[in-house]
């Protein structure tokens, strides 16, 4: 039986990814054991990140030979994982060195191979289907241990149909919500008027149609209102705070949400044109700073007396795809890059993840050696 190369890589990736998860992780249901909290934080850079500026760099020799753009212009260094595998990393990754053993690198991740569009690959990332469907993130909270499946910062362009309890809430909105709820009359379920309002929702949820199901959702949500209000009122965010991290910290620590999504969508990463591509080193400098700050914040923020927030949170950093070595056949010193669905990179760390590893399909190294051999010839 012959195995197609892509199928081989895919199978290898799935198998390889399972190496990161210790046994108990696979047995543990997310969020169902309150004595063993487990949160999930997704950082997603929309636009298609050029992973050659991070942990999937290429030797400068390839640029000199006219094969690949490299607007840093410096030789990348080897980043070797505790598993013995290594990858090339640019100097832009330096701020992440203090956290080297906290996260692992997955290179050569295959995305939606039949589609190279942004939307389809964002859909594929979150649902496994280029046309969209159910995002994997709300599934962590299927038992509804938390009132909110996920808090989201930023815009996510995707066709996800199970975001009913995923709440886009930036830091300003959170502060306003906390202030409003502290000042307002709480929902009092002992009040006859509140009971009457709830009774109409319940009464109208008895049918089988869409409206009845909607009324049921409304009744359930209204019933959660008082406890939700209490959770939100306890949130402590400094009035001058501008960053989203304190929202995550409070949401996880106070039991408001199981997951959080930080979606960055600036268009700066989708560097088809040379001008934008030449700005990528600065763009990635900013990105790496954000990731390093996030790791630092997670590790320095106590969750309880024994654990940091990082200890109880799985963190995943990704984009919808990587990028090609150049745009078409343009000269490497004046080119942009195109979408590359065959080689995405993911950083993953935190609870349940073995950090410090590098994993990439051997085919990447073989192709690279082949290129280098060709160049020498």
């Amino acid at each position: 039986m012959s195995l197609h190369r892509r199928e081989f890589i895919k199978a290898g990736l799935i198998g390889g990814a399972s190496l990161f998860f210790p046994g108990p992780f696979l047995k543990t249901a997310w969020g169902r054991d309150q004595s063993d909290p487990h949160f999930f934080l997704q950082v997603f850079f929309q636009g298609g990140a050029d992973n050659s500026y991070l942990f999937d760099a290429r030797p400068l020799e390839m640029t000199k030979a006219g094969k690949m753009q490299n607007y840093i212009g410096e030789e990348p260094s080897l980043w070797t994982g505790v598993n013995g595998q290594s990858t090339y990393a640019t100097k832009l990754t330096d701020p992440l060195k203090p956290f080297k053993n906290d996260f692992s690198i997955l290179n050569g991740v295959l995305m939606a191979q039949q589609f190279d569009g942004h939307d389809q690959n964002v859909n594929f990332y979150f649902t496994g289907n280029p046309f969209g469907g159910e995002s994997f993130i709300p599934h962590f909270n299927l038992d509804k241990a938390y009132p909110v499946d996920a808090l989201q910062s930023g815009f996510l362009i995707a066709a996800l149909n199970n975001l009913g309890s995923t709440v886009p809430l930036d830091v300003e909105s959170t502060k306003t919500l906390v202030g409003k709820l502290r000042a307002a009359d709480a929902i009092d379920m002992k009040n006859p008027l509140t009971q009457f309002i709830a009774s109409r929702m319940i009464e109208n949820s008895k049918g089988a149609g869409r409206f009845s199901k909607g009324s049921k959702n409304m009744a359930d949500a209204f019933g959660q209102g008082p406890s939700f209000e209490e959770l939100v009122k306890n949130i402590q965010i400094d009035k001058d705070e501008k960053e989203f991290f304190p929202v995550i910290r409070e949401a996880f620590k106070k039991g408001l949400s199981q997951s959080a999504i930080i979606s960055s969508f600036t268009g700066a990463l989708d560097a088809h044109d040379p001008d934008n591509a030449k700005k990528q080193p600065k763009t990635f400098e900013d990105i790496v700073t954000k990731i390093a700050t996030l790791f630092k914040n997670l590790k320095e923020t106590p969750f309880d007396s024994k654990r940091s927030l990082f200890d109880v949170t799985t963190v995943m950093v990704a984009s919808e795809f990587g990028r090609t070595m150049r745009q078409g056949n343009k000269a490497v010193d004046n080119t942009g890059t195109d979408h590359n669905v065959l080689s995405n990179s993911i950083l993953i760390g935190g609870k349940g993840i073995r950090g410090g590893m590098v994993w990439e399909p051997q085919i990447i190294k073989k192709v690279m050696r082949f290129f280098l051999a060709l160049i020498k010839l």
Binding site: G164, K180, A184, G214, M218, A221, Q224
Partner: protein, 196 residues
Amino acid sequence: MRALNLICLIVLVTSLGWASGVEEFPSQFLGYEAINKVINDRLFKPDSPVDIANYLGKSDLGDLLGIYSGTGLQFQFQNGTPNATNMVLWHLAMDGLSKDLGAICSIVTPTQLREKITDNFAGHLVPLCSWPAPFAKSEYVLQNFWLAVEGYDAPETEYLAWRDFFLANYTKVAPDQTVVAMIKAMLLNPYFLLRK
């Protein structure tokens, strides 16, 4: 030819069976824009509209009541599925609006909204300011007030439940508080907030 017809029939029946088995998505909230429009169309003068998002503070919280957003093929209605967050926000907004409207009946705390509401709505609200006088409790006043706010969005059973609740529980409550409660109960009714 008969075999072909039979195959077509099987395909048709199978697909109909499949279609009937498709799970229906629950109704979502009508959303911020739609509800804001209904409230303004029914209660407020065109030159003095209110914005229900103002009851949620200066932020993007109004978006969480349900909005159309996105780009291209992904332009869709978002945040419309009832959840703890948007339900609390609807409660906040409708509670605030109800209190402002109920204050029209208050002698102690007059409200600027008196000048903003339509003559039609004022005509149905002001009789309730004499609650619990017999005229205020009459079928004529109550039904017209219900229709002024709720329109024909809800079936009669909803009106009857609402009327009976206030006649049974609010006969000793002050008129302004009664009007606040009446409006709040109407605005938070699923027939008012959800898509039919």
